[in-house]
């Protein structure tokens, strides 16, 4: 490789890193501004309710169906593995803990990011491309307070609800497969589950995770939409970035939170 080519490579690498850091700083300032100007979203709650409808209620079907299937698969796979060690009665424990601690928040988060997150990004990006954001600014209405903040809070409120519904459906799915189809003892299924799942350790931590994921996904979705280039191509790239960045963020945060919550920080 020539000196020129190497130099070009490092220049571009440095450029990517600096622009990445700059973007992160910009995103952080955007987040702070949005939270500080959330007064409108809270005072005129109907705006936020509308957004809860669009990101939460419209995601119900995919969340419930996915939850059911994930729970059913857990029941099936779990049974066949536990059976080998004679512990098939612990199926309830396996299904419940997997869902409540991990799969509920994470899978619901990933589905939320791809369904609702991308929709939010596209909507804000299109408003920017068709000058609706500029029009709002020229009418002396802060677009971040009026358009962005309600969508952010709508996502933050919807996410834990969706995760709880996912987990509940999944446990029901595991029950259907395990008890109804395969024939694991009904009493053992529920009683062992109740003994092993702790409200504070498992369920509350799962809820905390889903809230954290909700904040991350909603923040990324509104930021990418607001920052999109005002062209068709720009909007499409922004929605892709939302889904990819959100998914990676969820998985990384999941590792961090799991390490903190379930191993008491000893793993880190």
């Amino acid at each position: 490789m020539t000196i020129q080519a190497m130099r070009g490579f490092f220049e571009r690498l440095g450029n990517r890193v600096t622009s990445g850091v700059w973007q992160l700083g910009f995103a952080a300032r955007f987040f702070a501004y949005m939270v500080l100007h959330s007064g409108t979203a809270l005072r005129r709650f109907s705006l936020t309710i509308r957004e809860i409808y669009f990101s939460g209620v419209l995601s119900l079907i995919i969340i419930l169906v996915s939850g059911l299937f994930v729970g059913m698969v857990l029941g099936l796979q779990g049974y066949h593995t536990l059976e080998r060690y004679g512990s098939s009665e612990a199926l309830g424990v396996l299904v419940a803990l997997s869902l409540v601690r991990e799969l509920g928040p994470v899978v619901a988060g990933l589905l939320f990011a791809s369904r609702a997150g991308s929709a939010i990004t596209a909507e804000i990006g299109l408003m920017k491309a068709t000058e609706q954001i500029s029009a709002m600014e020229m009418m002396a209405v802060d677009p971040i307070a009026r358009v962005v903040a309600p969508r952010f809070w709508g996502g933050v409120i919807s996410m834990p609800v969706l995760a709880a519904l996912f987990s509940a459906m999944g446990i029901f799915g595991g029950y259907l497969v395990g008890v109804k189809m395969i024939g694991v003892d009904n009493g053992a299924f529920w009683s062992q589950m109740q003994a092993a799942v702790d409200v504070r350790e498992d369920i509350l931590n799962g809820v905390i995770k889903s809230v954290v994921f909700g904040i991350a996904v909603s923040w990324i979705a509104v930021f990418e939409g607001y920052d999109a280039a005002p062209t068709a191509e720009g909007v499409s790239r922004a929605t892709t970035r939302t889904v990819v960045t959100s998914s990676l963020a969820i998985l990384a945060l999941d590792f961090l939170l799991t390490a903190l919550m379930f191993t008491g920080g000893t793993a880190t």
Binding site: E131, S134, A135, M138, M139, A140, V141
Partner: protein
């Protein structure tokens, strides 16, 4: 500032990239109650000038005084206070697609005042009647034609009876009937409301019929200005080329390129 000038742009320089200024030493005065056109080719800087007057950008050099305030001295609250006295019509309307026509026009009234809904209803009907679309109040923007959408956007812009109206290429892409309708509305609304209007456009003939004064911008500078009579009679080469739509003149037909025969010989070889 003389009380009769709503906008005073003095020796303004501006560039999105500081090394490449889009506006160079531009000075424009808009007297109260007049309709003034800013004309020029695409990309000459006229929309940028409009944005500077609207406070979206602050001039790198020079001063822009709008409605008695220096735009560069305003913080966000001051800027918003100034904009409540302005109305802007965007190029393609920029209506809020998730709201009906009625809600679009009522938007500013609901955001900036505590008027009861029945009063807002009367005001909205008033504004829609002025643009001739009172019957379309319940339609959604997606159901409107381009001309109708533009008129609704106009009704929305005048909702709070602004002191200054800014029009960003209001005639773009309209059929002759809608074109005529908008042009007439710009003039009659200005006179009826006692507003001052700035129209950025490149539709010369229409503008010559409705405005009181024109500025011509080319290459980031004001190259000509005058009343419609003065402009029609002008022998200034740029104005002449622009007004009469001549292909070649001060603005060349050919984009700068190397010698033609040399280019052809190269491809033959």
């Amino acid at each position: 500032m003389p009380d009769s000038n709503i906008v005073e742009v003095e020796n303004v320089w501006f560039g999105y990239d500081p090394q490449r200024p889009v506006l160079r030493d531009v000075s424009v005065t808009i007297p109260r109650g007049k309709v003034v056109a800013i004309m020029g080719q695409s990309g000459c800087g006229k929309t940028t000038l409009l944005r500077i007057i609207g406070g979206v950008y602050k001039p790198t050099r020079g001063r822009a005084r709008v409605l008695g305030e220096l735009t560069s001295g305003l913080d966000q609250d001051g800027l918003y206070a100034m904009r409540r006295r302005m109305g802007m019509l965007f190029q393609f309307g920029a209506l809020f697609t998730d709201l009906s026509v009625y809600d679009n026009v009522a938007f500013q009234m609901r955001e900036h005042s505590n008027l009861p809904e029945d009063l807002i209803h009367d005001l909205v009907m008033l504004k829609l009647q002025a643009v001739g679309l009172r019957g379309a109040a319940q339609l959604m923007p997606s159901e409107l034609s381009g001309g109708m959408a533009r008129r609704v956007a106009l009704a929305r812009a005048i909702a709070l009876d602004p002191q200054l109206m800014l029009y960003d290429e209001p005639f773009t892409g309209l059929d002759p009937i809608s074109f005529g309708a908008i042009a007439r509305l710009v003039r009659t609304l200005n006179d009826a409301l006692g507003t001052t209007s700035i129209v950025v456009s490149h539709d010369v003939q229409e503008c010559l019929d409705i405005v009181d004064y024109l500025y011509f911008v080319a290459d980031g500078q004001v190259v000509a200005k005058g009343t419609p009579e003065e402009i029609r009679a002008s022998s200034e080469p740029f104005v002449d080329q622009f007004v009469h739509g001549k292909i070649d003149g001060p603005v060349p037909f050919n984009y700068p390129a190397p010698d033609y025969t040399a280019d052809l010989e190269l491809s033959e070889a």
